[in-house]
């Protein structure tokens, strides 16, 4: 398995990532939901405020109009005004100074400029003009005259409107001077500038930005007044090239890169294209408290994420720790050490697994012990064969080279020795011979008293088996010479043996009862090998090792042999040729053949 970029080999890492991913996704979703809800709420809130602001703005203007017209009404009932108007010729200078004193009384508030106050004749001829602190000429008074015409035609007791006076936006009111009511003896015209101070006062009550702009179609399209910084306000001009806006719908505009929720409203002017009012509030300002809350939520989320990480690591450790322990213990068991059981003091699935693991280890240890013992009782190859395959009765036919080795006169010799010495001598001899046989790939089939029956090419077939049998026999002969020298120095009697070797197809397999099995071979070939061994006792042959014609033929590199003649074999028509192994020294009898 190739570990990919997002693939983790360690289960613990995967578990931690999964848990963290889930928690992070949940917290992220919550955070995004809160954030977008806040923004939606803020926009809605501003939108409502803008609409309230628009009403408040209109109400404020209406109040000023009412204030002006109410004041004008009081003025018109003033005795001295009537007295001044009564004079012929008219004393305009006194009249103007009288209007000035009215203007000072009619400041809307301490900060506001005094209003413009004018007095017109019933024929709309200017009689007097008070312009405290304002640049205004008589030729700027057209809007008043328009308004008077409007009021006179409709027989109105007051008329108001918006217009430019000397280029500045004003709210205008005209009120007839009744003398007495309803006889119109003249007209008062009053005007308040809708200027920076006015916009600021609206901002003070509504916290909204307020901007007045002249009509976009005018050649002198400009900001009339604004609570915004001049450069920011100037961008509004570019925003509204045309005056068509769906009434009462706010929109989000960018000023100096900052989003403002904006409500555009037209301000109808007398005899002129409408001006634009922009009521606004910065989305950032509105969102500031919500953003602080979002930061808190973010902090809590991160803390929760960290806690989740710790919890995930802890849980993952709880799972992976016993797994790692089991894995480590498995390695120990794999090396064959069954001595230490794994200890997991827990009752959960891992505890059960550990218990099962310990039971398995115990089973393995038992099997190993069996294998050990088996190896001692039978040859390792047979033991392996027995352990590997299912134990079955019966066997298979295969070609096997059988070696029989028997000591001469051992029975007679053993009668003159004590049994312990006999067993010791015999075991020493058998051990030396068995080792040589096994080294050459032979398998000890069984010991029959002092005789050895060994197989080559079973249970594992081997075409070189006859050669290995010959080599083993020769080495056995040499080893016996060495052993006899040891015995001689020890003062023990020396030994002599005969070896018969035959190669034949025999039946090999596990034989015996269901409860007790023995791997062996049976067949005439086995008997022949035994008989060849017996023939070595015949002094006429003068050799300790006799091999059959079949073995000789099977050898890949036939050694030098001496033909000994033929022997009759039971069950076979033709006699079998037998040979003594070639005298390369080894085949010479090292002992007198009795």
């Amino acid at each position: 398995m190739k570990p990919g970029r997002l693939q983790f080999r360690r289960f613990r890492t995967r578990l931690v990532c999964l848990l963290l991913g889930l928690v992070a996704a949940m917290l992220g979703t919550v955070y995004l939901l809160i954030s977008s809800a806040n923004e939606r709420n803020a926009i809605e809130h501003i939108d409502q405020n803008l609409k309230i602001g628009a009403r408040l703005f209109q109400k404020n203007l209406d109040e000023r109009i009412d204030y002006l017209s109410g004041s004008a009404k009081v003025m018109s009932n003033d005795y001295q005004i009537r007295k001044l108007i009564m004079q012929d010729p008219l004393d305009r200078e006194t009249l103007r100074s009288n209007l000035d004193s009215y203007a000072d009384r009619l400041r809307f508030n301490a900060k506001a400029l005094p209003p413009v106050i004018t007095l017109f004749s019933p024929e709309r001829e200017i009689l007097a003009l008070s312009i405290r602190n304002q640049r205004l000429d008589r030729e700027h008074l057209g809007p008043f005259q328009d308004l008077i015409r409007l009021a006179a035609d409709a027989d109105m007791e007051k008329a108001s409107g918006y217009s430019y006076l000397g280029g500045k936006l004003h709210v205008l009111v005209v009120v007839p001077l009744y003398a007495p009511y309803p006889n119109i003896a003249g007209w008062f015209g009053l005007a308040y500038p809708i200027d920076q101070a006015f916009a600021d006062s609206i901002k003070n009550t509504t916290l909204l930005e307020l901007t007045f702009a002249s009509n976009a179609a005018e050649p002198d399209h400009r900001i009339l007044s604004s609570t915004l910084p001049p450069r920011t306000a100037h961008e509004i001009l570019a925003l509204r090239p045309t005056g068509n806006n769906a009434a009462g719908t706010s929109q989000i505009v960018l000023l100096q890169g900052e989003p403002y929720v904006t409500l555009f409203q037209p301000l109808d002017l007398l005899e002129e294209a409408p001006a634009t009012i922009a009521l606004q509030r910065s989305l950032h300002t509105e969102l500031a408290p919500a953003r602080a809350l979002e930061k808190t939520v973010l902090g809590i989320s991160l803390a929760a994420l960290a806690a989740a990480a710790l919890a995930a690591v802890w849980i993952a450790r709880g799972v992976s720790q016993p797994l790692l322990q089991l894995a480590a213990h498995t390695k120990v068991v794999a090396t064959g050490d069954y001595t230490k059981p794994i200890t997991l003091p827990r009752t959960d699935e891992f505890g059960q697994l550990a218990t099962a693991f310990n039971q398995m280890t115990a089973g393995l240890a038992e099997r190993d012990r069996v294998r050990d013992l088996l190896g001692k009782v039978v040859s390792p190859e047979i033991a392996t064969q027995l352990l590997r395959s299912d134990l079955q009765l019966g066997g298979e036919e295969r070609e096997v080279t059988i070696l029989f080795c028997d000591l001469r006169n051992f029975t007679g010799m053993s009668e003159q020795m004590n049994p312990i010495d006999v067993l010791s001598l015999l075991n020493r001899y058998l051990d030396r011979m068995s080792t040589i046989i096994e080294r050459h790939g032979g398998v000890i089939d069984k010991y029959i008293g002092d005789a050895i029956m060994a197989l080559f090419g079973a249970p594992v077939s081997d075409p070189a088996a006859p050669g290995k049998a010959i080599a083993a026999a020769r080495e056995m002969a040499r080893a016996l010479q060495g052993l006899n020298r040891e015995f001689a120095t020890e003062g023990r009697p020396t030994l002599a043996f005969g070896i018969g070797i035959n190669t034949a197809r025999v039946v090999a397999g596990n034989m015996g009862s269901r409860t007790r099995l023995n791997y062996t071979v049976i067949g005439d070939g086995v008997n022949l090998a035994s008989r060849l061994e017996s023939l070595t006792k015949d002094p006429a042959y003068d050799t300790p090792i006799i091999i059959s014609e079949a073995t000789l033929r099977s050898l890949l590199n036939p050694p030098l042999v001496r033909e000994l003649g033929e022997v009759q074999v039971k069950g076979k028509a033709a006699a079998v040729k037998i040979y003594a192994l070639g005298a390369k020294g080894e085949s010479q009898p090292p002992y007198p053949v009795s």
Binding site: I85, M86, P180
Partner: protein
């Protein structure tokens, strides 16, 4: 109110003749619903012969009683005198800013009586600086042939010698005076009906309602 008699508009029926033997009777009605109009001033100015000079009786009286002027409308010939007796227990300060006669009679006590001579034709609106609701009109006409309609909208001019006359009907609520030419002849009809367009009554109401002059 502006001076309403200045523009001489000869509207409609030129050469309308009336029988002058026992005076000309005029009925003034509203154009809207034909209701009779009281307090309308009807004057006939001779066009074919000189206007007779006013006699010694060219005076009128507008009293102040119950803090109102009475009568509401007064007609005099140019050069006539109006006396303003105060029959109230409070002082009044009457004035006029109308072009034909600007005047004031500063605060004067109950029981006192002041007079003013009106030497130019036109409508003079009179008010009081103390009581905003007080209003009265004096129609100063350039002819001795005038009359004021009663509650039935009828007014009777004194008998006119034959000839053409400029007939002018004015009312405080008239948008503009109705002017027409008539001819006086012995054999013609004596009743003439004239319609005037009236604006809504805009006089200040006192609470409780004072002596109004409703139609």
């Amino acid at each position: 109110m502006r001076a309403c008699l200045i523009p001489l508009l000869f509207a409609g029926c030129l050469g309308l003749t009336v029988r002058a033997a026992e005076g000309v009777r005029i009925i003034v009605r509203t154009t809207l619903d034909g209701k009779p109009v009281a307090d309308a001033v009807v004057s006939a100015t001779p066009l074919d012969h000189p206007v007779p000079t006013p006699g010694p009786g060219n005076t009128a009286e507008i009293e102040q009683k119950n803090q109102e002027f009475s009568p509401y409308v007064t007609v005099i010939q140019v050069g006539g005198k109006v006396i303003f007796p105060n029959h109230d227990t409070v002082q009044h300060h009457i004035y006029s800013l109308s072009k034909p006669k600007r005047f004031e009679i500063p605060l004067y006590q109950a029981g006192a009586s002041e007079s003013v001579v009106f030497d130019r034709p036109g409508i003079v609106a009179i008010g009081c600086n103390i009581h905003d609701w007080m209003v009265a009109y004096i129609a100063v006409v350039p002819t001795p042939f005038f009359a004021k309609t009663d509650d039935t909208g009828a007014a009777t001019l004194p008998s006119l010698s034959p000839g053409r006359y400029r007939l002018e009907i004015w009312h405080p609520r008239a948008a503009a005076p109705v002017v027409q030419e008539i001819s006086s002849a012995p054999e013609n009809a004596t009743v003439l009906e004239v319609k005037v367009a009236l604006k809504p009554d805009k006089r200040i109401r006192r609470a409780p309602t004072g002596k109004g002059t409703d139609y």
